[in-house]
Subunit: 749 residues, 2 copies
């Protein structure tokens, strides 16, 4: 049904695309347009941020022109000289092309022309790149992915100087460089080009862009619809373990646009890869919009590309860093160049949302095109408004029915709970159903580990994924989620994981003092259902909001359950005793446990186990309802890590053995501040006396939060019927409670 829908969409689009040969013969036409350039030239000197962006780009390009062009014979992985040089070449060429148009100075066109002819001279005899690691080796780079980056940028550079070149020069470039280049990354590497994956998006867009410049209909079709007969075997996988060929799957740019984005604009691999993938999506969509505006690519799938920019910005912390869901390198943020592109394009070609201007202002630069000018003009004219991030629920899956990701926020990003109940996330997905992380004003409090890779740092495995990414980062125990019997979700198998997703129970952000998300996972461990409800609540009798975590596990068989909290910062105090071992040994021998040292082991000394710690000058306490037989484990990442690829981060793990049904309930309470300058502690200790499970059945779970000044709040979640209109009645300890909707919060004492 889904495939039929896509097919229909594609057919409809094809009807529109047919008269492509009628497209504009003008250049530039892809990103910059002739009319746009005229407007830009007239605005020079009058739009501060645009002028500043021109000036800094000019400075950067002028230095490169002075240094001279180098197109070395490719030898290195990322991080090595030849890799970084070729990468810099295409980035600078694209900028030089834009400067040629804006400043009308031939030296920029000559620089691009000379560089292109150096490539033209070397490309025809260039063998496949000597480094063997990729499933799809490029020529200039070790993987076709980077060759595609090159072509996507160079197509823009070429477009900018197209009219500066003679017809003979253009023919030489087309025949010796661009067409063979496009063929190499597509028909010669269908395993790279012809799939649903961010790699293919780059390949498709690159082929399409150069097709548009060259006016080569075959390439444009190949970009939009993929290769019909790619000769690939169904079930083939790449070196990350992702599927290359899936039965009946359409390919090409439009299929890639259809598939990984949910209707809400969430990209199934997560924000780190979304940031990377946005660039080819937006750039080719924009080129199509400029050359064929009637195709309305930006409006495709109900405007999904522009929605995706909004989703991406919302998946960042208070400082603009993307939440590291799935494989993600921490520190990537909306300051990335691809987000400058995304924000400027979303502003100009979207609905001129003034909140985007405040992000652009922080970025401090704009694109050297019409969209960048438009943003800079609006900023100059004082139209900016703060970008306000609130709680958001983003569906996953092409149809929006494969789980999702929710972010609960409180205040001006004082607290943000990132809750993942999504699909597998393709080959970059982690086995972490119902996992969460917690941020406080941009600081990680309970962290998601992210990936194990040092992107473009050659000393670390050529800058590529390291083996601990598989053995540690993807495993369930590396996440703030539940591991059963020391085995990862779906046994850590992609074939199984990619068939399933969690299910939303409800998301409710209707009340300022209560933000809730609740979801179930029934497939990670056959026979076991996990149901996690997370909430930020601010009971009237509390000075600060609390994060409530209810993990309800149902299983007929008995198991061991491990629920970790990867806290950042400094242990201060516990209300339980624990022993530390005289030497540190790993917690297990597989599924990530081999990378965890046991640093301490204890047992609860009360029904409410408390753990107090300090992160970046802020105090927190975790209070958990525990049983006397629970084990409390302090663990440290870093065992069996012969190359020091892992950070020595800590976790507190709640372990419960030999149980079937079980309920884990915790509250994370931010309650104070510390300054190393004033050396003043404000509210360093918890205000909670106890956390109790007041009621727990298949239908309802109720917990009571008791404070030190003897007040109590009750939170009830309806486990079965989440309808906002549903009326509930429940008797707990002799008292009747009635409420409407999926949850109830009440101060009871």
């Amino acid at each position: 049904m889904k495939l039929n829908k896509i097919k229909a969409t594609l057919m409809a689009l094809m009807m529109l695309i047919i008269p492509l040969e009628l497209q504009s013969k003008e250049h530039p036409k892809l990103i910059l347009t002739k009319a746009g350039v005229e407007t830009i030239r007239k605005s020079l000197g009058q739009v501060p941020l645009f002028d500043a962006s021109v000036a800094s780009t000019k400075q950067q390009v002028d230095i490169e022109i002075a240094l001279g062009i180098d197109t070395p014979i490719p030898t290195d992985y990322s991080g090595g000289y030849t890799h970084e040089r070729h990468k810099k070449n295409f980035v600078i060429a694209q900028k030089a092309g834009a400067l040629y148009q804006i400043l009308d100075d031939d030296k920029y066109a000559e620089y691009v022309r000379d560089m292109l002819f150096q490539y033209e001279a070397m490309y025809k005899d260039l063998p496949v790149h000597p480094k063997p690691r990729s499933y799809a080796r490029g020529k200039l780079f070790w993987q076709c992915l980077n060759d595609s980056n090159w072509l996507l940028y160079m197509a823009q550079a070429y477009d900018s100087i197209y009219t500066f070149l003679s017809e003979e020069e253009r023919q030489r470039l087309n025949q010796n460089l661009f067409r063979p280049f496009a063929d190499f990354i597509s028909i010669e590497n269908p395993q790279f080009y012809n799939r649903i994956h961010n790699h293919s998006t780059w390949g498709n867009a690159a082929v399409g862009m150069i097709g548009l410049v060259m006016d080569d209909q075959e390439l444009i079709d190949r970009a939009l619809y993929g290769i019909e007969d790619d000769g690939l075997e169904v079930g083939l996988k790449d070196d990350d373990g992702g599927f290359i060929k899936v039965e009946g799957q359409k390919t090409g740019f439009l299929a890639n646009l259809e598939n990984p984005f949910s209707p809400d604009g969430y990209y199934t691999e997560g924000p780190y890869y979304q940031r990377y993938a946005m660039y080819p999506f937006l750039i080719f969509a924009l080129a199509m919009d400029n050359v064929k505006p009637e195709l309305k690519v930006f409006q495709h799938k109900d405007g999904v590309l522009l929605k995706a920019v909004n989703a991406l910005l919302n998946l960042s912390d208070a400082e603009g860093n993307f939440f590291p869901l799935n494989d993600a390198q921490k520190g990537m943020s909306y300051f990335s160049a691809s987000l400058v592109t995304a924000v400027d394009i979303a502003y100009h070609y979207g609905d001129q949302n003034p909140q985007l201007l405040s992000v652009a202002e922080k970025q401090g630069q704009v694109l050297l095109d019409q969209s960048g000018l438009s943003v800079a003009v609006a900023l100059r004219d004082g139209k900016t408004q703060p970008f306000v991030k609130q709680s958001i629920n983003l569906s996953d899956g092409a149809e929006g029915d494969e789980g999702g990701v929710a972010v609960l926020r409180y205040g001006v990003e004082d607290l943000a709970v990132v809750f993942k109940y999504a699909a597998q996330g393709l080959s970059h997905g982690h086995y972490d159903k119902l996992s969460f992380s917690l941020y406080d004003r941009g600081d990680e409090v309970i962290q998601d580990y992210g990936l194990v890779r040092f992107v473009n740092i050659g000393q670390k495995g050529g800058g590529n994924y390291l083996k601990e990414n598989q053995s540690w980062a993807k495993q369930t125990i590396a996440h703030n989620s539940l591991t059963q019997d020391q085995t990862s979700h779906f046994k850590g198998k992609y074939e199984i994981g990619s068939q399933h997703h969690s299910e939303l129970h409800f998301f409710d952000d209707s009340r300022a003092d209560v933000q809730v998300v609740s979801a179930r996972e029934a497939n990670a461990y056959p026979g076991t259902e996990m149901h996690r409800t997370m909430a930020i609540i601010k009971p009237e009798n509390f000075a600060t909001p609390l994060v409530l975590d209810i993990m309800k596990v149902t299983s007929e068989a008995k198991h061991q359950y491990d629920l970790p909290f990867y806290f950042m910062g400094q242990v201060l105090q516990t209300n339980f005793d624990y022993e530390i071992p005289s030497s540190l040994a790993p917690l297990g021998d597989s599924d990530g446990y081999q990378h965890l040292y046991l640093e301490g082991k204890g047992k609860p000394s009360s029904d409410s186990t408390q753990f107090n710690w300090l992160v970046e000058g802020k105090f927190y306490t975790l209070t958990s309802a525990t049983n006397v037989t629970d084990e409390l484990l302090f663990a440290r990442v870093g065992a069996q890590d012969p190359e020091f690829n892992l950070r020595r981060d800590a976790a507190l793990i709640f372990r419960r053995k030999d149980v079937g049904d079980s309920l884990f309930v915790s509250v994370i309470e931010p309650h104070g501040r510390y300054s190393p300058v004033s050396e003043l502690s404000v509210n360093p200790k918890s205000n909670m006396a106890a956390l109790k499970v007041a009621f727990d059945t298949e239908a309802y779970t109720a917990v009571v939060i008791e404070t030190l000044d003897n007040k109590s709040s009750l939170f009830i979640v309806a486990n079965r019927d989440p309808a906002t209109s549903a009326k509930h009645h429940l008797k707990i300890g002799g008292k009747h409670y009635s409420w409407l909707g999926p949850y109830h919060l009440e101060v009871i004492k």
Copy 2:
């Protein structure tokens, strides 16, 4: 000789002090003066930073007034409510007093009056504080030190509202509160009051301040000259292990001013405690200056107090954080309130150094007195200049002849090497002769661990020193210094360590491209001499400056030497192989080794051992000349740490066994940058091919730095004669070298 000199100085001062009874009867007179208040009132509304400081202080005080006064019965250690409340009381009272003077609004005087009478009502029956940990328990606080803080601030508050009170009210306060309070912290606690220690400085200044307000000559004398017959036993020690009573030692404020400061203004305990001690020194000196300007306290010992402000500011990194020499909590910086005091007073009562204004500007606040007004006016009038920190050598010891601390800097604080060859540093000293730390634009690259304490965080041992401060932080192996036979310098014994200091060989910052410090230590290990030369050099053929470290050890007996580098950040690559253990065990059982896990063990695979790592987006390589028999140990802090009091930080330790004389030579090379936003690596790898010892005798040590592009630089240090006028001739490998002065740097290929 030294004591005689001090005695003579004191006698001379006493002559001047005699006519104290003639002092001003006006109030306020301590910090604010009647004339000063008039100027301030006239300036209101015209000096932005002063007005802002008044406004923010007013806001803070008004909130407290609205909340009401609370003077609880003392029960807690620091971090606990009663401690923090009483602390806040004296801080707010001092501010309220200043506001009363500036704004002429009785509500502030009434607030201070009411608070003082609440204290007056409770103090007479108040027993000694119930918490037993201190060698000198206070009444309001667990230690007399905090009671002294209270009195020093309250004296100012009292002075501000003195004329607002009736004579009867003043008598009541004097008799029931202030005089008994002053007696309690002095004659009832001579072990606290009558020594050379920052504790006593607070005590002396507090007693002196209240004496000045009360016009009580006995208290003033007691403040200046201590208690003549204190009845204390010689050799008595406090709970930190510091000496309380030293034979023949003078006491009181003037002796405390004489002794811990070197003529350069370095405070022997280090900058963290200097910052703390500066406040009573400056405040009481200023009060004396206002009441008895003819005493010229600020000019005492050649202006040492104002020099001390300059020394302190220079002992901070690029972001203003103090270098954590000896016991020091990281994060303390010139943003501390006591540095606002120091900077404002140093500007106003010193020579109006316009560079101080840029620090004041960063602090964003000024004192509510004449000095704060003066700074704010100068800032308003655009007189500010950048505070430029360059290489500096600060002597230690009252006479400046007990070693010192040098900071080598390159560029605008691009690099800073902090080199310690000082005296013991009283009871807060660490056993780390010739240790160093390295900073790069404010980031720690090679760290000094600092203290083990969470100041004012009650959950951690009442906020006091933790036992790991002694067992780990003070030990030699916790520092970037040499440990012999797994035993700390001076066997970790204060009695021995406090008799010795290292000796400067030379300090030379005469050349922009070479900054050198060289010092010897002959007493840490009897029979062994350590001679360390550290330099920042920028050979012509290098793009970046290098940090050169030459540790020359001489011993007739054979020993094991351990030389650690406590690197921050992420291990990237080594050029040697190492094994990681399957479980982690401690490296030893005493002298700090019991807190280090062995994480990896290897041997050099070449004469130049290389270790490449990443800190805060910057790449570094350590290249060391090594022998095949050396052991290379990766260590991690955190063993035998049952309360999680230690950070899990890392070190690379060079171990050499069974040798007498030995030479350790290393180069730390900052060579590149990485951004997680652009994901671009710039120069991630070392440019060095080798580091070789070309020559090594008692007289000279010469090393050759070879680059990958086959160039070489030679650095020679004269181990015997450091005179700048000395001519040296040396033949190395058939080539003659001649030069003038203690070192020679030459590009030889």
